[in-house]
């Protein structure tokens, strides 16, 4: 088994509470499935859309990130899968996709020193 990260983008910030509730139920269902088949290393969390960005050797602090809604990383999950292909298959059940969003599937990089 290898580790992968799902990075979610493109969630709808303007959803009403009722819509949100419906969407979150879908996330619960998806997580239950993934968890039952032993693929969740860490469910992760949804993220606030903005915070701070710290940059460069000057460590300058900026508000942000200010990017288009579809580009903002809305959350993450750590997954265990056989390989990238399986991880990709697993990501297809993510509710963010039917809302027009995307899942970036990135293998964890093994750093051998």
């Amino acid at each position: 088994m290898s580790e992968f990260t799902f990075l979610y983008r493109g969630s709808d910030p303007s959803a009403s509470p009722e819509q949100m509730q419906k969407v979150m139920q879908k996330w619960v269902a998806w997580f239950k499935e993934l968890g039952a088949s032993g693929h969740i290393k860490d469910p992760g969390h949804p993220l606030e859309r903005t915070g701070k960005v710290v940059k460069g050797h000057q460590k300058s602090i900026h508000d942000g990130p200010y990017a288009e809604a579809k580009d903002v990383v809305g959350g993450y999950t750590l997954i265990e899968a056989k390989d990238l292909a399986q991880a990709v298959e697993l990501s297809k059940g993510c509710p963010i996709l039917e809302a027009g969003g995307s899942v970036e599937v990135r293998p964890v990089r093994i750093m051998n020193m």
């Binding site: 979150m24 619960v28 469910p43």
Partner: protein, 413 residues
Amino acid sequence: MIAALTRVFGVHNLALAEDVVQEAFCRAVEVWRLRGVPENPPAWLMATAKNLALDTLRRRRTARTYAPELGRLLDSEWTRASVVEELFAAGAIKDDLLRMMFSCCHPRLREEAQVALVLHILCGFSVGETAAAFVISRPAMEKRIARAKKILAASKKLFDVTAGPEFLARLPAVHSALYLLFNEGYHGASAETAVRAELCQEAVRLVKVLISHPRGATSATYALAALMSLHAARLPARVDEEGNLVALSDQDRSQWDRALISEGLKFLELSASGSNFTEFHIEAAIAAIHARAPDAAETDWKTIVSLYDALMETRPSPIVALNRAIAIAQNEGPDRGLVAINSIADKDRLATYPFYPAAIGELELRRGRPDAARRHFRAARSLSRNAMERQFFNRRVRACGLRPSALRLDPRS
């Protein structure tokens, strides 16, 4: 509330669930004092408890210590609120009550511990109130409840109400617990009062939860619900306005709750399925006869006697034998009644039961022997467990100074 919270935190964290309930009530007191009582107080309390549960989950390190069935779902903001919301949903609550009820009736617990847990956890009675309900000291009840909770916690998870054979296997224990609870309210022996309607109400409420579940609605459950409803219907007449206990034959039957009676009779009909004939069926049938009779004189005592015969086969006990003897007296006269009383097996177990000498007293009075009757009523009075009973027997003692009056049997009704 506590049932839903136990589902969130796991049965081994019952104390945490209780803390959250406590906190919710504290907040209610504070907030409502300032802003007034909300339109829907129970909903407000539920919502507050739910949010407190979420806060607790967020503050603590890992959800792995919580309900194992929920696993990692309580760990992540992706799923946390949704899952808790689901657990607090109306439909889930009833299931939670059932789960908690069955969990309380754990086979490793003695019956009295089971009922204590039901009263304390499910009905929200404080330890002191639970102690009073079962006429034991507060420290003794504290111990009993603490020990019971330990056993409950050790079981790791709440009872699974979807598990077929285990559900049916535990159902009789649940029935017993609810029956005992009802009885405590109806024929209670507390030092304060003989009748505690709130215990009866709790028992009725819980048996209805049982009925609302497709697997809980068995013939025996319906019979239990019938007997509870039919007895509860008589509560308004059982105690008069001055707080005196009133014997069945003296009760103002216009005070009986007609709605409860018809509900009880409906349950009785529903219980008449299958061949499973329990003590609850018999007791419900007896109660139905009383419910339908316009007064004591026009009651079908003959059938009641044969029902008691059947009850003696299913669940023999000196008290059942006593009630049977009283019914025989009603049907065949006081002499036959006394013969029946004298032939009760294990009479010595009735030694501290005041209604035993009282029954003999009633029959002696009816036979035209007031002096003998007075002696027995005095004996009954000395065995009284509360002021209500003492008053009742006092009046009977005084009645022996008058002409033999109309029959007043079965004051326990």
